[in-house]
C-alpha cells in the first residue's frame, strides 16, 4: 500500500480495504457504561443520585409488596397477619381490601346479579370500536370480535338465566363474528346501533324505548331523502326536524303501546347506583364520541366567513375554555334547573355527560382548527375547482386530512377528558377515585387504608390513558408511512 504523504502525487488504490472491527474500547458493555452513565463528572454524579433515589424507593416499597396480604376481613386483621408472619414493625400491603371491594371499584352500587349487563356492554364496546379503529381490516376486526365473543360466552354461559336470553346472546355474538369475517366493512353498521343497545343494557327498562328512539334516526334519514332535491342544508334541517319531532311526540307513546303488546325488557337500574369505572367509562366514552362531531362543527364555525357564526363560535369556545370543568359540573347539578322549563328534571349522569361533552368539544375545536390551518391552501382551491359544494369539500377532502394532522392533539384531549371524569365525584357521583375510595375508607373495617385503593385506581387509569397515547403514536407513524 503506497503512502500518500507526498501531497499532490497521483495515487490510485488497487485493492480496497476490508471492513475492520472497531477497537475494543469502542464496543461492548464497558463502552456503553462509559458513554451513557459515566461520561463526565456531572454525569457520574447524576447517575449516583439516580441510583440512590431508585434504591431508596425500592427498599421502602419492596418489603411492603413482599408482605402483601390477600386474605383478611379488615385492615386491622391485615396488620396482625403481617406482624405475626414477619415480626414487629413489618409493613405489608393489604390487598384483601380489593378482594372484598373490587366490585365496587368497578361497578359502584350496580346490582350484583346484573353485573353481566355492564360487562356485556363493555365487551361490545370493543366490537363497536374495532371497525372505527381498524376500518376494513378483516384480520384485526375478526380477532377483536372473536376474542370478545369467546370471553363473553365463557363469562356468560355458566350464569343463571333464561335459556332463551342465553341463546339470543350467543346467536348475536356469533352473528357479529361472522359479519367481521365475511364483511368487515359492514361491521361499521354495528357502531351506530351500539349506543342504543348499551343504553338499554345499562339502564334496563323496555327494549322498545331504544328501538323506537333508533327509529327516529331512520325517520330523519327518510325525510332527508325525500327532501333531497331542496339542497343539502335544507334537507339536513328537515331530516333533523323530523327526528326531533318523532322523539318529542311519537317515540314515547309508540314504545309504550308496543310494550303493552309485547313486553320485553330488563330490570330498570337507577342512575344513582352507577359508580366506579362503570361510571367513568360511560361518561368518558359518551363524551368522547359526542365531542368529536361537536368540536369539528365548532372549528368549522370558527373559520367561517360569516361574521355572526364566527363570533358565536369564538365566544362559545373561549367561554368554555376559560372556566374550570368543575364550575360547569356545578352548573349541571345546581343551575340547570333554573335554565330549563319549570318542572323539568332529568338524570344527573346525563347532565354531567352533556357538560363534559361541551367542555371537551371546545378544546377539540381548537385542536381541529390547528389541523385546518396547517392544511395547504391548494387543497381548498382544488376542492373548489372540482366543483364540490362546501359540505362535500369538507367531508371528502378537507376533514380527512385535517383530522389526520390533529390526531395527537385529539387523543390528548380524550386522555384529559377521561382523567377529568374523576371530577364528577365533586357533584356527588360515585367515581372510582374519590367516590368509591371514600365509601371504602369510611367503612370501619378499612378505615386508614390509602395506598392500596389509590394504587389500584391509578394503575387502571394509567393503563387506559397510556394505551390511548401509544395508540395515537402508532397511528401517527402509520399515517406518516402511508403519506410517503
Amino acid at each position: 500500500m503506497s503512502d500518500q504523504t507526498n501531497a499532490s502525487a497521483p495515487f490510485v488504490r488497487r485493492e480496497m480495504i476490508a471492513e475492520q472491527p472497531a477497537p475494543a474500547s469502542e464496543a461492548g458493555v464497558v463502552k456503553w457504561l462509559r458513554e451513557n452513565l459515566f461520561s463526565g463528572p456531572v454525569n457520574t454524579i447524576l447517575t449516583l443520585i439516580g441510583l440512590t433515589v431508585i434504591y431508596y424507593m425500592v427498599s421502602s416499597a419492596w418489603p411492603w409488596f413482599r408482605h402483601s396480604v390477600w386474605n383478611a376481613s379488615s385492615l386491622h386483621e391485615c396488620k396482625e397477619i403481617v406482624t405475626s408472619n414477619y415480626g414487629e414493625g413489618a409493613v405489608g400491603a393489604c390487598w384483601a381490601m380489593l378482594r372484598e371491594r373490587w366490585h365496587q371499584f368497578l361497578f359502584g352500587f350496580y346490582p350484583p346479579e346484573e353485573y353481566w349487563r355492564p360487562t356485556f356492554a363493555f365487551g361490545l364496546l370493543f366490537v363497536a370500536l374495532a371497525p372505527v379503529l381498524y376500518f376494513g381490516n378483516r384480520k384485526t376486526c375478526s380477532v377483536v370480535v372473536g376474542t370478545v365473543a369467546v370471553l363473553l360466552l365463557v363469562y356468560f354461559l355458566p350464569h343463571e338465566g333464561h335459556p332463551v336470553a342465553k341463546f339470543v346472546a350467543a346467536a348475536s355474538l356469533a352473528a357479529l363474528g361472522a359479519l367481521a369475517w365475511f364483511a368487515p366493512k359492514r361491521l361499521l353498521w354495528f357502531t351506530p346501533l351500539y349506543p342504543a343497545l348499551t343504553f338499554w343494557l345499562l339502564w334496563g327498562g323496555s327494549v322498545w324505548t331504544p328501538v323506537f328512539a333508533l327509529a327516529g334516526v331512520a325517520v330523519g334519514v327518510l325525510a332527508y331523502r325525500l327532501a333531497g332535491s331542496l339542497g343539502t342544508v335544507m334537507a339536513t334541517s328537515i331530516g333533523f326536524l323530523a327526528t326531533v319531532l318523532w322523539w318529542l311526540f311519537l317515540s314515547g307513546s309508540v314504545a309504550a303501546q308496543v310494550n303493552g303488546l309485547l313486553p320485553i325488557g330488563l330490570e330498570h337500574v337507577d342512575s344513582d347506583r352507577f359508580g366506579g369505572f362503570l361510571l367513568a367509562v360511560v361518561i368518558g366514552v359518551t363524551a368522547i364520541s359526542g365531542s368529536l362531531p361537536l368540536g369539528i362543527l365548532l372549528a368549522l364555525g370558527r373559520r367561517s366567513d360569516m361574521f355572526l357564526i364566527k363570533s358565536l363560535c369564538v365566544g362559545f369556545i373561549e367561554a368554555i375554555r376559560g372556566v374550570p370543568l368543575i364550575t360547569l359540573l356545578f352548573t349541571a347539578s345546581l343551575l340547570l334547573n333554573y335554565f330549563l322549563p319549570p318542572g323539568t328534571t332529568f338524570d344527573i349522569i346525563l347532565r354531567v355527560i352533556i357538560m363534559v361533552t361541551i367542555f371537551a368539544a371546545a378544546y377539540l375545536a381548537e385542536v381541529v382548527r390547528g389541523g385546518l390551518a396547517a392544511l395547504p391552501r391548494g387543497q381548498y382551491e382544488a376542492a373548489d375547482a372540482l366543483g364540490l359544494d362546501y359540505w362535500k369539500a369538507q367531508r371528502l377532502i378537507v376533514m380527512p386530512q385535517a383530522l389526520k394532522i390533529s390526531i395527537p392533539g385529539i387523543v390528548s384531549v380524550f386522555i384529559g377528558l377521561f382523567k377529568d371524569t374523576t371530577l364528577v365525584s365533586l357533584v356527588g357521583l360515585m367515581d372510582p377515585l374519590r367516590g368509591v375510595t371514600q365509601v371504602v375508607r369510611s367503612d370501619i373495617a378499612w378505615k386508614g387504608i390509602y395506598w392500596e385503593p389509590y394504587i389500584f385506581v391509578g394503575a387502571i387509569f394509567f393503563a387506559f390513558c397510556f394505551g390511548m397515547s401509544r395508540y395515537s403514536m402508532y397511528l401517527e407513524q402509520k399515517l406518516k408511512r402511508e403519506h410517503r
Binding site: A7, F11, M16
Partner: protein, 264 residues
C-alpha cells in the same frame, strides 16, 4: 462535458500558489460508527494554499472526513494535525483548531433568531474577543465581498438560499480562518443560485485560501482545484490533478462514478 455549471470566466491564478508548508496532516486515521467502519486508513496531507475537491458516491465518508478535521466528529485511531495542533480530546486544542478552520454547511445553518450582521459578529465577539464595532466593520467588509451588504439588517428567513449560503461563507470568513471546509455547499440550492455561490468560492480561491470542498460541481473542480480526491467505501480510492483525473481516470470505481455524475 455536459456540466450545467461549467465555469466560463477567466480565473486569476496570480495568488493561487501552493506553499510547502503543511496545513493539515492526516495519518492512518480510522473512524467507526458503532461497529460500522466509516473511514478506513485515511492518509492525506494538505499544503497551505491548496484547493482540494473531494468527491464520491453518497455514503462514501467524504462529509465525515472533513467533519473530523474540525472535530464535529471524533476519530478513533490515527492522527489529525491541523496547522501544527493535534486533535485530541483536549478542549484547548479543539478550540484552537476550530477558530482556525471555517466551515460551510449544506443547509447553511444560519442562526434564524439573529440578523445577518449579528450572525457574522457572534463568533468574533465571543470567541475572538474583538470589540463590537471592529467586528461589525469586518463583517460588513466580508458581506460586501459576498455582495450582500444591503441585507445586513435582515433576518436569514428573508433571504434566498443562495444569499443565505453566501452569508454563511461570510460568517466563516469573519473569523479570519486559514483553512475553509465546504460540505456540499451547493447541493441544497436551486440551480439558478448555484452559480452565485460558486463565484464566491472561486473568488476565495483566487485569494489563496486553503480549501477543502466536498462537492459534485465538476466545473468548479476543473477550474479551481489543484487536486481531486475520489472516495468510496470510506477510503481514498484515487487522487490526481484535475485534468488527469477527469480525462484519464485510473480506477474502475472512479470511471463508473464519473460516467454517472457527468452523464456520459
Amino acid at each position: 462535458m455536459s456540466d450545467p455549471h461549467a465555469i466560463d470566466r477567466e480565473i486569476d491564478r496570480s495568488h493561487m500558489q501552493v506553499s510547502d508548508e503543511v496545513a493539515i496532516q492526516i495519518t492512518r486515521m480510522n473512524k467507526w460508527y458503532g461497529a460500522f467502519h466509516v473511514l478506513r486508513d485515511i492518509n492525506m496531507t494538505v499544503m497551505k494554499g491548496e484547493r482540494i475537491v473531494i468527491c464520491g458516491p453518497s455514503g462514501s465518508g467524504k462529509s465525515t472526513l472533513i467533519r473530523c478535521i474540525n472535530r464535529l466528529e471524533e476519530h478513533q485511531s490515527g492522527q489529525i494535525v491541523v496547522d501544527g495542533t493535534e486533535l485530541t480530546s483536549d478542549l484547548k486544542n479543539i478550540d484552537k483548531v476550530r477558530s482556525e478552520v471555517g466551515m460551510v454547511f449544506q443547509h447553511f445553518n444560519l442562526f434564524p433568531h439573529l440578523s445577518i450582521l449579528e450572525n457574522c459578529t457572534l463568533a468574533p465577539i465571543w470567541v475572538r474577543k474583538i470589540p463590537k464595532r471592529e467586528a461589525e466593520e469586518t463583517a460588513m467588509h466580508f458581506l460586501e465581498k459576498v455582495k450582500i451588504p444591503e441585507q445586513a439588517h435582515k433576518y436569514p428567513g428573508q433571504l434566498s438560499g443562495g444569499q443565505q449560503q453566501r452569508v454563511a461563507i461570510a460568517r466563516s470568513l469573519c473569523m479570519k480562518p486559514r483553512i475553509m471546509l465546504f460540505d456540499e455547499p451547493t447541493s441544497a440550492l436551486d440551480p439558478e443560485m448555484i452559480k452565485e455561490v460558486l463565484d464566491t468560492m472561486i473568488e476565495l480561491a483566487e485569494e489563496g485560501m486553503t480549501m477543502l470542498c466536498v462537492t459534485h460541481e465538476m466545473g468548479f473542480a476543473q477550474a479551481v482545484a489543484n487536486r481531486v480526491v475520489f472516495m468510496d467505501q470510506g477510503q481514498i480510492v484515487e487522487q490526481n490533478e484535475p485534468r488527469e483525473f477527469f480525462n484519464n481516470p485510473q480506477s474502475d470505481r472512479t470511471k463508473l462514478f464519473l460516467s454517472q455524475i457527468l452523464g456520459h
